[in-house]
């Protein structure tokens, strides 16, 4: 089975992200593999372990995104491809989907393409579905349990109402949620391989497509209004008295 895991490099979740001069900035916070994408890599690796084949990690981003790809290699992916082109700076999710779909087609013969449920920077969560649409493949979103039997993929989707079982014929796009199970740590073998890996960078010309025209624009970027936070210690003679005061306050402030 030929499997692609699409991953994105994002600012660390501990980074303080702010709007600065109309640009998003995360200061000098480290960049990491999008935490949700680690679940996608885990799911991809488990399919490979169950059915054989290979897992190829694909990322669209700048040169630095090779570090995120190396993390995927260290977890056990067989190879990695960076899609990088100056013309892709600031591209929207639909553009990203077109580029990733072209990369998946260039890889060729792909049975399954795995994504994380969303990226923690943009938080859109629609790139997987858009990529499926461009490819014309079925989309199995928010997958928590994944079974592949011959050409048929059956997943349990983790949705607000509970679990929903759906199936489709491969090739298909899947997005993976946390319920799938903890992603593995990198192994020393993987680290050794990753640190020596030569990751190819494909340009738009290599993919044979032109820069996708944006469909979404951000005319203005601003920080959320800062909230006044006040801290008050509730004291009292006994836990019961403190609890009563707290309950009164909660009701008075209309928290409940």
């Amino acid at each position: 089975m030929k499997i692609v895991a699409c991953i994105k490099q994002v600012p660390d979740s501990a980074a303080k992200v702010v709007a600065q001069d109309g640009q998003v900035s995360w200061g000098d916070a480290p960049l990491v593999i999008n935490p949700w994408d680690e679940f996608a890599v885990e799911a991809a690796l488990q399919q490979k372990e169950a059915h054989g084949g290979e897992v190829i990690a694909v990322s669209m981003g700048g040169e630095s995104a090779k570090e995120a790809l190396k993390h995927a290699l260290a977890m056990g992916c067989d190879s990695a491809i960076l899609v990088s082109d100056p013309a892709l700076a600031g591209v929207d999710t639909q553009g990203t989907a077109k580029v990733l779909a072209a990369a998946i087609q260039k890889v060729g013969g792909v049975d399954l393409a795995f994504f994380g449920r969303q990226a923690i920077d943009g938080d859109a969560g629609i790139t997987p579905a858009q990529t499926a649409r461009v490819l014309g493949w079925p989309m199995l979103g928010l997958s928590a349990v994944i079974k592949v039997d011959g050409g048929k993929v059956t997943v349990e989707r983790s949705i607000e109402e509970g679990r929903q079982t759906v199936s489709a014929e491969a090739p298909a796009v899947l997005s993976v949620v946390k319920d799938f199970g903890e992603p593995r740590y990198p192994s020393f073998m993987g680290i050794r391989k990753a640190s020596r890996a030569d990751i190819p960078a494909w340009t738009l010309a290599d993919l044979g497509i032109s820069a996708p025209a944006p469909v979404v624009a951000w005319p203005e970027l601003m920080n959320p209004p800062s909230r006044e936070v006040a801290c008050e210690f509730i004291t009292g003679g006994s836990p019961a008295e403190i609890a009563e005061k707290l309950a009164d306050k909660i009701i008075a402030e209309k928290v409940l």
């Binding site: 740590y185 990198p186 192994s187 020393f188 020596r196």
Partner: protein, 381 residues
């Protein structure tokens, strides 16, 4: 001259750091309070290579370079002193002698299971009730050839990991005449009849790293369990301890780093006389002092490890790194408590635990005094 880690070392450091932050550090307090070994984390260490730092790849080990090994032990020390000591002893004391002096058959039989994490850990028993710094004169545990077996009798003290190990490499006297060629190393499986592992010692710190007295009551192991050459036990021990000292130095840097980070955090949170204590010069001096000492110790640990990796002599540098790092860790932890004031003395904060853990480091694997003798000898002999 190049002070940068290479690509593989950088990735390794981040991977180990992330692992320790998720699996080891959050459990450090519980491990100390319950004195229960953190098997849950250790069971996950195999694929990451933390159980086979010195073991070659063909025997399931990671076979990392000496600097990478030091990095891993520092990160473990940053997370939890107890877990770090167990893993440092497993690699540096229990596994390294087999990797270095063992036969292929011994590597297959003993090293591979513990390096991959399929088995338990490894231990080394040198110290005895009457022999610590002076092993050559003091070791009385003896092994006598009897047919195709060694018959071993005696008592060892302070054996880290004995109760959580598959085997204990035991330093024994094989020549009753004494002298520097009278000692040998023998691999003793922990399930050998006649081997008694006493309950864990009650210690000041490192409570989650079990330490035991071990008694050998006519324990019999096959002759082929001799590790390395007969009569080379003392030499093999000293070589092993040179490497172990880099490891204890690295562990101490990790402990100091953790105490330092806790102190920096606290100095922003606590306010006195109308400003955070971080704004008082006396606190800043302690922070600066700690930063300087940690940086210098880490650099020396890396230098000793680098020399070892180059195959160059490193006995003097390992002794310097160990002595400086362990003593500085004690001071950094002491000042981290000072910065915390009364709260630093409480178990609510991690610094008192780290202080207790750090205290051992100037004693184990060569006391500060013995290490100073090693250093001075280089200049005076």
């Amino acid at each position: 001259m190049d002070f940068d880690l290479n690509g593989e070392q950088r990735m390794w450091q981040k991977a180990v750091h992330d692992f320790v932050a998720a699996e080891v550090k959050p459990k450090a307090r519980e491990v100390d309070e319950t004195a229960e070994f953190n098997w849950a984390a250790v069971k996950k260490m195999g694929p990451l290579g933390l159980l086979g730092l010195n073991a070659p790849e063909e025997f399931g080990g990671a076979g990392v370079d000496a600097v990478s090994a030091a990095i891993a032990i520092e990160e473990l020390g940053w997370g939890c002193g107890s877990t770090a000591l167990a893993i440092a002893a497993h690699n540096g004391l229990g596994s390294a002698p087999i990797a270095r002096f063992g036969s292929e058959a011994q590597k297959k039989k003993f090293l591979e299971p513990v390096a991959t994490g399929r088995g338990k850990l490894a231990a080394l028993a040198l110290t005895e009730p009457g022999a610590g710094s002076d092993l050559q004169g003091g070791v009385t545990t003896k092994a006598v050839k009897d047919g195709d077996e060694w018959a071993i009798n005696g008592t060892k003290m302070w054996c880290t990991n004995a109760s959580i190990a598959d085997y204990i490499i035991t330093l024994v006297r094989t020549d009753p005449a004494g002298g520097s060629h009278s000692l040998s190393m023998v691999i003793v499986p922990t399930d050998a009849p006649g081997l008694h592992i006493a309950p864990a010692e009650k210690k000041m710190g490192l409570k989650g790293s079990p330490t035991h007295a071990v008694t050998y009551d006519n324990v019999r192991v096959p002759l082929e369990n001799l590790l390395g050459e007969e009569g080379r036990g003392l030499h093999q021990t000293l070589t092993t301890l040179d490497g172990g000292r880099i490891s204890i130095g690295a562990l101490s840097v990790g402990l100091a780093q953790a105490a330092f980070e806790a102190a920096v955090d606290y100095s922003h949170q606590r306010a006195t006389f109308g400003k955070p204590i971080a704004h008082h010069q006396a606190i800043q001096w302690m922070i600066a002092e700690a930063a300087m000492n940690i940086e210098v110790a880490r650099t020396m640990v890396h230098k000793a490890a680098w020399l070892k990796e180059q195959g160059r002599p490193f006995t003097r540098e390992a002794a310097i790194a160990k002595t400086f790092a362990t003593e500085m860790a004690e001071t950094v932890c002491r000042n981290a408590i000072q910065i915390h004031g009364g709260y630093g003395y409480s178990r609510e904060y991690p610094v008192e635990r780290i202080y207790r853990d750090a205290r051992l480091m100037t004693i184990g694997e060569g006391t500060s005094e013995v290490n100073r003798i090693v250093i001075a000898r280089h200049y005076l002999d």
